[in-house]
């Protein structure tokens, strides 16, 4: 039982990192970004390129900490892949979404464009890396620790949670303490009012992509560390991401965090009764319940 909660929290923290991006983009750019899952895959594959091709060429030391996958390669790959993914997201925005926005296209049209972008990104991954399932560090033995209360945990999983926690805390500080963070929250709350008060909303949008795509990339890498990389991995995350964002009220990053953890725990718990293959469907089930009972989400005042 406790073990499932622990696994759920770890998996949920990965979902939360993705869902925060979904909810910020939903709130600030006002559309459902169906390419978000594929940005997660893109980040994970960029890290793969760094770890398996670029870093060995540059002679980055390969030692790792204890029984983990984490060493210089992965630690360097996290920010670099996040930056790379953010650049791709900004490029997608400048070339595809911005012209539509300028034309005042409806949110559904932007969502459709994001579906097209998702296809472009996913197929680029297929083109460069092929359809196989890939491991960051093939052949690496990663024994699990035996903790009290019959919890088995790999050191990797603890670090995954740690990384997620650090990112969420920094995001909290950023949104609460910095001027830009406050501007972002204001834009999410009411874009017209934000513009009137002199907030540069275009700049806010760029930062939304940087944060959203960066967190998505890191979520993708952390998932890859815990499991395997494959081109459709991000697409499989789309349902949990949106379920978490809607559960935690669209536009509310802290809600997305809570939503992600809940979805993660519910998904892991469902394996007690259900075939583990059904976990995305479980996220969908949660989404149905939310839409039926409380469509405005846990933290929404009115519908």
């Amino acid at each position: 039982m406790l073990e499932l909660i622990v696994y759920g929290i770890i998996y949920g923290s990965i979902i939360a990192l993705g869902a925060i991006g979904v909810t910020l983009i939903y709130g600030i750019l006002r559309f459902a970004n169906f390419a978000h899952g594929d940005l997660m895959s893109l980040g994970a594959y960029m890290a793969l390129f760094l770890i398996q091709v670029l870093f060995p060429m540059l002679g980055v030391p390969q030692e790792r900490f204890g029984g983990t996958s984490f060493g210089w390669p992965l630690i360097l790959a996290l920010p670099l892949a996040a930056a790379g993914t953010a650049l791709v997201a900004i490029a997608l925005d400048q070339f595809f979404y911005r012209p539509l926005r300028v034309r005042r296209a409806s949110p559904v049209i932007l969502a459709m464009a994001s579906l097209g972008a998702a296809f472009i990104v996913r197929n680029l991954i297929y083109i460069f890396w092929g359809p196989d399932k890939i491991n960051y560090f093939p052949g690496l033995v990663r024994p699990a620790w035996q903790l009290p209360f019959e919890v088995r945990l790999r050191p990797d999983e603890l670090i995954i949670f740690g990384v997620a926690l650090v990112l969420v805390v920094s995001l909290y500080l950023f949104l609460q303490k910095t001027k830009l963070g406050k501007a972002m929250r204001a834009t999410a709350d009411n874009p017209d009012l934000a513009r009137i008060t002199g907030i540069n909303t275009e700049w806010v949008r760029i930062w939304t992509w940087i944060i959203g795509a960066g967190l998505a990339a890191i979520a993708g890498i952390l998932y890859g560390v815990n499991a395997l990389l494959y081109p459709e991995m991000g697409w499989g995350f789309l349902l949990p991401l949106f379920a978490a964002a809607i559960l935690g009220t669209v536009g509310n990053p802290y809600g997305a965090l809570v939503g992600g953890l809940i979805i993660g725990i519910v998904q892991r718990f469902s394996t007690l009764w259900l075939n583990p293959a059904y976990q995305p469907a479980v996220a969908f089930l949660v989404l149905i319940v939310v839409l039926l009972v409380r469509p405005q989400g846990l933290f929404g005042g009115r519908s």
């Binding site: 539509l100 296809f119 472009i120 149905i288």
Partner: protein, 385 residues
């Protein structure tokens, strides 16, 4: 001329003339273009070699099925503005429902290997009706759940139902043979190519169909599907021009205004969503006739959700003619590039080329949204006519 070529020629000439007639601005030019198109295609098929006729029939069948899907999506998106990303699921559910309604329960040794929920052995029309009903019921459920909420929640829910159904079909063996293909689906009118032919056929037609053998079935199917497409098109054309169709367009343009006019926006949206899903389910039933086995892997969202979207958007959403034309045009490009890449690309890049084409389709969708949002055949004012 042998009967098979005649059947293919008839179906393709009608399709070719029809597609060209869409570009006529008046009734007269449309008729003229129809005649020109039909004559050109007809002559082409008449002089083509046997191999080419065979080569063309299979993609033509697929194109007609895509056209039905595209027309179904047009009811949801083109008319009403409902964003459905689960087309493949409605299509697949229709296919599986129809397959199980028309095929018998496996017996003897086969029962060990083929599991299915039911098998009624009913005639094909029952399969089509069943497929439409089940797809419609699923659409009703999603529609009631999401159509009162923000408009993109529908899209998320359709992804959800599509992925969930995929998981159920791939993991539950008892339902429709799980990950294994479901074989032995009867083909409608297959008895025409059998020896002896269908018992119900009048005597002179028996002689007429006698030269066909089972390899010629695709020609029969193409004729059957062409008729199905024309019937669906005409029926939906009635819907588009009905007062109800006008309400749908009003909702698409301005929901609040439509509600102010006393229209029940929610109910109309649900009806439109269900109607479109019924058409997609029906397309699934027709699809089973073109394959010998089905498994859920066939119904990949890349091929049956995304491509259909590109077809409708390229053709011209809101315009049924555009939906049909887009399906044929994009399918022609799609199979044409398959053919070209098979011929030109060196062996070691084959898999890459496959994904490059999908990537270009994604790019094409965005380019349409950016530069030609109304498509090749834009919606006519007042819905045409």
């Amino acid at each position: 001329m042998e009967l098979k070529r005649l059947l293919v020629l008839g179906a393709m000439a009608i399709l070719g003339g029809w597609l060209l007639s869409f570009f006529g601005r008046s009734r007269r030019t449309s008729v003229l273009l129809f005649v020109v198109g039909a004559a050109l295609v007809g002559m082409g098929i008449a002089v083509a070699s046997e191999g080419w006729v065979d080569y063309l029939v299979t993609p033509a069948i697929a194109a007609v099925i895509y056209a039905i899907l595209s027309v179904g999506l047009n009811v949801q998106w083109g008319l009403t503005g409902l964003f459905n990303i689960g087309i493949a699921a409605f299509f697949a559910v229709g296919a599986f429902t129809s397959a199980m309604i028309t095929k018998e329960m496996p017996t003897g040794l086969a029962a060990e290997y083929i599991k299915q929920l039911f098998g009624w052995g009913l005639p094909f029309p029952a399969g089509i009706v069943g497929a439409m009903v089940i797809s419609g019921v699923i659409a009703l459920f999603i529609g009631l759940l999401t159509l009162r909420l923000r408009e993109d929640y529908l899209a998320i829910a359709t992804i959800g139902i599509a992925e969930s159904l995929r998981l159920v079909f791939q993991n539950e063996r008892w339902l429709a043979n799980g990950p294994q293909p479901l074989p032995g689906i009867p083909k409608p009118l297959f008895c025409l190519v059998e020896d002896p032919p269908c018992v119900w056929l009048p005597g002179f037609l028996k002689d007429w169909f006698a030269p066909l053998d089972s390899r010629d079935y695709e020609a029969i199917l193409l004729v059957l599907l062409t008729i199905a497409l024309l019937v669906i098109f005409v029926l939906l054309q009635q819907v588009v021009h009905s007062p109800w169709g006008r309400v749908l367009r009003a909702i698409r343009e301005d929901e609040v205004a439509a509600a102010m006019c006393g229209k029940n926006v929610f109910s109309c949206k649900v009806q439109a969503f269900v109607l479109g899903a019924c058409v997609m389910g029906g397309a699934g039933a027709l699809f089973t006739a073109s394959v010998s086995t089905i498994d859920f892997g066939l119904f990949h969202p890349m091929s049956y959700t995304f491509l259909v979207w590109v077809m409708l958007m390229a053709g011209g959403s809101g315009n049924q003619k555009g939906a049909v034309f887009g399906a044929f045009a994009i399918w022609a490009i799609w199979t044409g590039t398959t053919f070209l890449s098979d011929q030109l690309v060196p062996f070691q890049f084959k898999t890459q080329v496959f994904y490059v084409r999908y990537m270009l389709v994604g790019l094409l969708l965005i380019m349409i949204l950016l530069f030609r949002p109304r498509g090749i055949l834009p919606e006519e004012k007042g819905g045409g006519q």
